[in-house]
Amino acid sequence: MNGLKEIVIHSSTKNLAILRDYLEKELVIDGISQTITNQIILAVDEACTNIIKHAHKYDNSKIITLKYEKYPEQFKINIQYEGNTFDPTIVNNPDMVEYFSKYKVGGLGIPLIKKFMSKIEYTHINPNINSLTLFKDLY
């Protein structure tokens, strides 16, 4: 993988598998370990699932643009999408003791992203465009 690459998907959960398969090929070909590849793929899946479900309300006419690049010691993927402001970086991880005791459902996507990614950045670019960037250290 040399330089910045881009993939655009329609906002539909049926495209998650296509996206995962595509990214896996890209990451493995570029020499990223399977373990780190799996972590990146899961984080991207979780981020896109949240966008599809919450930002786009399953409207598959909307699109998600992913731009990614591998540096010597880091992988970076930026995800841009239309929608209201929502900053996942400030969402607190659930208290899992309470989570399990109350048999809660949902809300585990962001904790998984935070566990597997080295850094997450969010910005709101203009009135309606969000930018979420995931960074993964490769060492």
Binding site: T13, A17, R20, D45, T49, F100, Y103, G109, L112
Partner: protein, 114 residues
């Protein structure tokens, strides 16, 4: 590209769901339907075999959380088994072994019911 399928096998009033493929936000509804069917049929001793499951996201984890309380309130359980390291790591990262009985082998999960 593999998708997702479920095969149900009955073993002495224990119902084993064999998952195949990937469990994400798109396919998780199939697992929900499978659990709904079992619960509607009052089948509360459930084992989920992950041997052929290649991927799970939090949407998949959410299905187990959605049904575990009902099943346990009816004196049953959802026991999980035969996970690859990749799949187990996701459950383990979030602390799921605290709530769920996760066995290496299906035979162990069956024994744990008896």
């Amino acid at each position: 590209m593999e998708e997702f399928s479920i095969r149900e096998i009955s073993k002495n009033n224990i119902f084993v769901l064999h998952l195949d493929g990937y469990l994400d936000a798109h396919t998780s509804t199939e697992l929900e339907k499978a659990f709904d069917k079992l619960i509607n049929e009052k089948k509360y001793k459930i084992i989920v075999n992950f041997e052929k499951l290649s991927y799970i996201s939090s949407a998949g984890l959410g299905v187990f959380m959605a049904f575990i309380e009902t099943v346990r309130n009816n004196k049953g359980d959802i026991k999980l088994c035969a996970m690859s390291d990749k799949i187990f790591n996701i459950f383990d990262m979030l602390g799921f072994p605290v709530l769920f009985d996760i066995a290496k082998e299906e035979s162990t999960a069956i024994s744990n019911f008896n």
